[in-house]
């Protein structure tokens, strides 16, 4: 199984798919439960000398993470889970947390594209409109870095952005407004789930690009399309809240994430993007975005 993990963690990390989960964990080792996803984090899972982390993605997979052996072992906890859901959880939930925890990058819940050589990142919660924005820009000649998780790497005076998994998943309305038809599994659309587009439809880029602009998507729908400068401390806090990691209880990791978020805030062009959640106005949003970046020349 290619989880793309090895390319983000430089010291020989490996991910392997093992099979059915053998774990019966003790509640006493539970150290954290993510409020929205319900992902459970266990430490040592109750056995002496056991690998430090066990992550349970409820009803899908259990994952043992062993930083000493640089190894991620994935166990299926529900044999009835289909391939589409399994891929989604591994690519969009597991991979960002592992890379976010063990690399020197800040992994944001964010979509990212490259348009005319400029790299744009859209940071926002699930359902904020990241994929629709990204998908719309792909129709205008953009290349996709990621629709859900983007790693920001701080170098001397520059921030680089790299998508963790260059795939695009959209719900039915977004598919219609962006004009995409072919999904990997049409049953996803029928079931009302987000469907992953066939990757051969997309131009993707798997390398790191210098970040041009980072947009924090306003959760409140707005009639107007606005690009608002926000305070540095507010921007920094939003980046921290939007970052992936295994657990907020790991002090060293929290300190590093804080430092990385501050570096990104101090270096990058960051604006809050407010826009109407009206699919009929998706083209207006796209146009305003390109105008804001003075990219309209040469865009047909």
């Amino acid at each position: 199984m290619n989880t793309n993990l090895e390319s983000f963690l430089s010291n020989g990390w490996e991910a392997r798919f093992v099979g059915a989960s053998p774990f019966a964990v003790s509640a006493s080792t539970l150290i954290h439960v993510e409020p929205i996803t319900g992902i459970e984090v266990y430490h040592g899972h109750g056995r002496e000398g056991a690998p430090p982390w066990l992550l349970r993605f409820p009803g899908v997979i259990d994952v043992l993470i062993d930083p000493r052996a640089n190894e991620v072992s994935i166990y299926r906890s529900n044999p009835e889970i289909d391939r589409s859901m399994l891929d989604h959880v591994i690519q969009d939930q597991l991979l960002p947390r592992v890379v976010g925890h063990f690399s020197n990058s800040l992994v944001l819940h964010a979509a990212s594209v490259v348009v005319h050589g400029r790299c744009l990142v859209f940071c926002g919660r699930s359902g904020a409109g990241k994929s629709t924005l990204a998908g719309g820009l792909l129709r205008y000649g953009a290349a996709l870095l990621s629709d859900d998780a983007t790693a920001l790497i701080a170098t001397d005076g520059e921030i680089l952005a790299r998508g963790l998994c260059p795939s695009l998943r959209m719900n039915r309305d977004s598919l219609e407004v962006t004009g995409y038809r072919d999904t990997r599994d049409p049953a996803d659309v029928e079931a009302g789930r987000k469907a992953q587009l066939a990757n051969e439809l997309l131009e993707v880029s798997e390398i790191a690009h210098p970040l041009t602009a980072l947009f924090i998507i306003d959760e409140e729908p707005s009639h107007e399309i606005r690009f608002v400068e926000i305070g540095a401390s507010s921007a920094c806090m939003t980046l921290i809240e939007s970052s992936f990691a295994i657990t907020p209880t790991d002090i060293e990791r929290v300190k590093l994430m804080f430092t990385l978020a501050a570096k990104v805030t101090n270096t990058a062009y960051i604006r809050q993007l407010s826009f109407p959640r009206d699919f009929a106005r998706a083209a207006d949003v796209r146009k305003a975005l390109l105008e804001h970046l003075s990219l309209t020349q040469g865009v047909s």
């Binding site: 540095a232 401390s233 920094c236 907020p248 804080f258 501050a262 101090n266």
Partner: protein, 93 residues
């Protein structure tokens, strides 16, 4: 209310990590997991406190930079110090 002498120096709690973003500081308390944002005056106070300056010197810096009276500077300084002590951001030396 905690008694704070004007010649006293306070120091950051050992569990505080501070990063400057733009012109402001954000403080993270590693034990509580809480983040605290400081505005312009707060940032000035934090920098002076971290440098080990006593409260009287910090008050003078506030009056000089913001052109406010001694009374206003004293009130704002003591209000923030109280908050920082309550949140274990700084401790009395």
């Amino acid at each position: 209310m905690t008694e704070i002498d004007s010649e006293e120096t306070l120091r950051p709690h050992t569990s505080i990590v501070a990063n400057k973003v733009g012109d402001e500081y954000i403080l993270l308390h590693l034990e509580t997991g809480l983040y605290h944002g400081l505005d312009g005056v707060g940032t000035l106070i934090w920098e002076k406190l971290s440098a080990g300056e006593p409260l009287t010197a910090i008050k003078q810096s506030i009056t000089a930079k913001y052109e406010v009276s001694d009374e206003v500077a004293e009130r704002d300084l003591r209000a923030l110090i109280e908050e920082m002590l309550d949140a274990d951001i700084v401790i009395q030396t």
